[in-house]
């Protein structure tokens, strides 16, 4: 069993398993709006395999990271909106 680590989602502490896929962590945390389109509409995961770019979030200050292709690391700071 992987170690439990702490990540920060919109500033709030979450305890997750190291290496867990970020998009599932966000979904389990009840987040449905991962980012907004330029027209303001909410976007969330669709393909789950890195193709659709719908699940992008900001990770450690880098915008447009595909959360379905991102593994959780200790101290990671994630911003959705």
């Amino acid at each position: 069993m992987a170690d439990m680590i702490t990540i920060y989602i919109n500033g709030n502490e979450h305890s997750v398993r190291e290496g867990e896929i970020l998009s599932s962590v966000l979904a389990k945390a009840g987040i449905t709006e991962f980012h907004k389109s330029p027209d303001g509409s909410p976007r969330g995961p669709l393909c789950g395999m890195g193709t659709c770019f719908e699940c992008t979030v900001t990770v450690n200050g880098n915008q447009h990271c595909r959360s379905c292709q991102t593994k959780c690391k200790s101290g990671m700071k994630v911003e959705t909106r």
Partner: protein
């Protein structure tokens, strides 16, 4: 349908569309033929930089005149053409390039173009994501960027509003000096003047007028508004652009109005495949990372290659072709065709009407390259 026109323009890129607008506006019966879609070829492959370049006095004159026309046009069309008056920042990497900054400052300043010299401190303040330590640069604040396919489309619509006819997906296979155009379906159309604005395909229609494909690659990123504030280019870009070497790359970034960043640039002769070449793409990106390491963190969403229509003397052809009675050229703008398209359209229209243009037009005449039958014989 009447098949005789005053003017037929072959090629619906941004140059052909600008020609169609100005010529139709003067009341001539105008037909524009485009083999694919309006603005879908080299126009859609380019960055869309509206920039004053100074490789030669004639290039400077054409760029400056055209930039002024764009600036005036953009006042009422800002959103339609995605105009962003971001200015150009030329970055100096060493003392030799900083000396070149001073020379260019003097050249531009004496000709009435706004320019500003930035030192090491102010260049970092102006573009905080540049790698620290650059000696300085030259800021040209009135340069801009736009979205070329949208601008081409708008000019084709304006041409139509002045009575021009636009036919897309119509391929021309031949033209003759008596003013006849043969389409792929075998039909013929006639005009008093035929203007070849077919970019790198122009030589297929006028064999004596050399236009060579010069391949380039670009990458576009997702939206990162505020990441860069200007079109940023290394001064070495001019070395790359002017070099006769088979391959070259240079750091060149472009902030689109919608926040996306276009990353360039590469130049290749003797490569006629539209496929992306990952070797030169890698060289290009590594060059850009040297100037702005932060680019490595950005999400690229697309990469593509296209062809610039290059001429042997790096000057476009604008005007009548000697020895080819009714055939004119508006082509060969290499990497600054978006910038100079609007002036090209205006100048061609003025030449047709025997009106003197605002700048000397002799340097662009095809007769400098094409001798015509009399001299050839």
């Amino acid at each position: 349908m009447n098949s005789t026109y005053d003017v037929i323009i072959i090629g619906g890129g941004i140059v052909g569309c600008c020609c169609a607008k100005y010529i139709a506006e003067c009341g001539r019966k105008t037909l524009l033929l485009e083999r694919q879609m309006i603005g879908g070829g080299t126009t859609a492959s380019g960055m869309g930089h509206i920039v004053v370049l100074d490789d030669s006095e004639s290039q400077f004159q054409l760029c400056r005149y055209s930039r002024d026309l764009w600036t005036e046009f953009a006042e009422t069309n800002t959103e339609k053409i995605e105009w962003n008056r971001c200015g150009t920042l030329w970055v100096a990497a060493d003392q030799e390039e900083m000396d070149a900054v001073k020379d260019r400052f003097t050249y531009y300043n004496s000709r009435g173009v706004n320019v500003e010299i930035l030192d090491q401190k102010s260049i970092t303040e102006t573009e905080p994501n540049l790698k620290p330590g650059f000696l300085g640069g030259l800021l040209v604040p009135d340069d801009a960027v736009l979205y070329p396919p949208a601008a081409a489309k708008l000019f084709s619509k304006l041409a139509e509003s002045y009575g021009a006819e636009i036919r897309q997906y119509t391929e021309v296979i031949n033209t003759t000096s008596d003013g006849s155009v043969t389409l792929k379906d075998g039909s013929k159309i006639h005009a008093d003047t035929i203007i070849i604005a077919a970019g790198y395909n122009s030589s297929d229609l006028i064999t004596d007028l050399p236009v060579i494909k010069r391949k380039g690659h670009l990458v576009v990123t997702n939206r990162y508004p505020g990441m860069i504030n200007h079109q940023i280019i290394e001064l070495g870009y001019l070395k790359s652009a002017h070099s006769a070497a088979k391959e070259s790359v240079a750091f060149n970034l472009h902030p689109c109005a919608n926040g996306k960043i276009i990353i360039g640039s590469s130049r290749q002769f003797d490569n006629y495949s539209k496929d992306v070449n990952f070797d030169i793409l890698g060289q290009m990106l590594n060059r850009c990372f040297e100037y702005m390491p932060k680019l490595k963190d950005l999400q690229a969403i697309r990469t593509w290659a296209g062809f610039r229509p290059a001429t042997p003397d790096k000057t476009p052809y604008i005007g009548p072709c000697p020895g080819e009675d009714k055939i004119w050229a508006a082509t060969g703008h290499e990497g600054f065709g978006i910038t100079t398209s609007i002036a090209t359209g205006k100048i061609i229209s003025e030449m047709l009407d025997n009106i003197e243009s605002s700048i000397p037009t002799a340097p662009y005449l095809p007769s400098r390259i094409m001798a015509g039958d009399a001299q050839n014989g």
